[in-house]
Symmetry: none
C-alpha cells in the first residue's frame, strides 16, 4: 500500500483545515512516501519562507528511522549527541520533534510520514493526525 | 504581488491536467516564491521518487538567476563550465533545462517560478505555462 | 511487491557467480529498494576499496530517475550538463552508465535497482541482469 | 590480515541469527575494512529504510578513530562538542554509540569494524560480537 497523490492532497487539506479550526499559526505540511521522498507539500500564506525544510525534516527523520517525532524527541532529550549524529548521517535533514507523524498501513508497515510545522510542535502533530485520519489512514505521533 | 497558496495550488492542478490532456508521462510540479522557497509541490502517481529534486532544481535556478530554463539551457550549451559553476555556488540545486518557468507580475517583476519534470523538457515547459496562465499569471519559458 | 532481503542476497550471489563464470574482474554489487535505500551490498576480494559508492551510484540514479544506466548514459552523451545537474540535485550520488539496472514487478512498477561495478560497464550490466533473473525478477538495463 | 568477503558474509549471518535468537527488532549489519570502506551490508526485512547510514556510521567512526562505540559514547557524554566536531571532520558520518565494534587481528591491529543497528545500542553490540566471534575474529565493543 502506498500513499497516493490523492491521499496526500487530502492529508494536506485536512491538516490545514484543522489548523484553521484551532486558530493555529499558518501551517506548512509535507507528505513523504515510504522511501522518504516528497509526494506533496503546501505552505500557507503568511508562513515563513523556510518552512519546507522543517516540515520535510520532521517527516524525513520519521521515515528514515521508523520512529515518529515524539520518540525522536525523547531520544534527543536523553542522548542529544546521538540525535545530532543521526542528523549528520542523514545530511542534516532530520528535525526530531513532534509534528513528524508516521503513516502506517493496516498491517502496521510504515508507508510514509507527514511533517507539519508552524505552531507548537504538539499542535503541529494534532493537525498532522487530523489529516491522516481524514484520509482513512493510521498515524503514529 | 506574491504567488498565494491558492494560486500555487491552481498552477499545479492545471499543469497536471495539461499533462494528462497531452498524454504526457506522470508529471511533478513545484511552485517557488520570489526567494526561491517552496510554496507547493505535487508528484503524480507513477512518477519516479526523485522527481521533487528535479522540479525544484528547474524552478530554483530560474528564480536565483532570474533566467528561465530555456535561457539557462542556451547558456549551458555555449558554456557548460559556467552553468556547472553556477550549480556549485547554489549548492548543486540548479537544473538548467526547459520546464523551469519564471512567473512575472504585471510590471514584469519576477514573483516566483514553476518547475515541471516527467516528460521531455519541452513538454514539461508547456505544462508549466498552462498552469501559470490558468492562474492568471504571466510565464517566461 | 518489494525486493526482500532473501531476494537481494540471491541477486548478489548470482551476479557474482556470473562474473566468475565470465572471468570478469572482481565485482561489487548493491541492491537498492524502491526509495533508493540499500538493502544489501557485497564487494569481492580484490576489488578497489571505493567500489561501494560506484555500485550504489549506478543503482541510486536508476531508482531516483526511474531510468536505467543505458538510458542515463545516452542522455549524458547528448546533454552532459543535464546529467551533471541531476547529479548535483542528488548530492553527487549518480553514476550514469550501464551496470545500473532497474528491477520491475510484474505490472512494470520499479521496485528497486541493482548496481554492479568492477569490469566494463557492459559486463557489469550482464552480471546484474543474471542476478535479477536468477531471483525471478525482471530487469531493465 | 584482512576481513575477506567470506568472513564479512559470515559476520553478517551470525549477527542476524543472534538478533533472531534474542528476539531483537530487525537488524541491519555493515562490515567495513581497515580503511573504513564497506565490504558487505544487509538490512533485514522490516527494518526502517535509513538503517544503512546508521550501521555504517557506527562502524565508520570506530575505524576512523580506532575507538569502538562504547568508548566513543563515553567521550560524547563527557565532551559532546568534541564528538560533534569529530562528526564534522568526517563528513557527518560518525554515530558514537555501542553497536560499532572494532575487529582486531591476533596481534591487536584493527582490520575493520562492524556496525549493527535496529535494537538498543547494547543489544546491537551483542549481535555484532556474536558475528565477529563466529567468524573466528576478535571484537572490541
Amino acid at each position: 500500500m502506498i500513499i497516493s497523490q490523492g491521499k496526500a492532497r487530502a492529508i494536506i487539506r485536512k491538516a490545514l483545515e484543522k489548523g484553521k479550526e484551532l486558530e493555529l499559526k499558518p501551517l506548512s505540511v509535507a507528505v513523504l512516501d515510504a522511501g522518504g521522498h516528497v509526494i506533496a507539500f503546501e505552505r500557507s500564506d503568511g508562513a515563513a519562507p523556510g518552512r519546507f525544510a522543517i516540515a520535510h525534516g520532521k517527516a524525513y527523520g520519521s521515515v528514515m528511522l521508523g520512529m515518529a517525532g515524539t520518540a525522536q524527541m525523547a531520544r534527543a532529550e536523553q542522548q542529544a549527541y546521538f540525535m545530532a549524529a543521526v542528523n549528520g548521517v542523514y545530511g542534516g535533514q532530520v528535525v526530531p520533534v513532534p509534528g513528524g507523524v508516521l503513516v502506517r498501513d493496516k498491517r502496521g508497515a510504515v508507508i510514509g510520514a507527514v511533517g507539519v510545522t508552524g505552531d507548537t510542535s504538539e499542535n503541529d502533530a494534532i493537525a498532522a493526525m487530523a489529516g491522516i485520519e481524514a484520509a482513512g489512514l493510521t498515524g503514529e505521533i
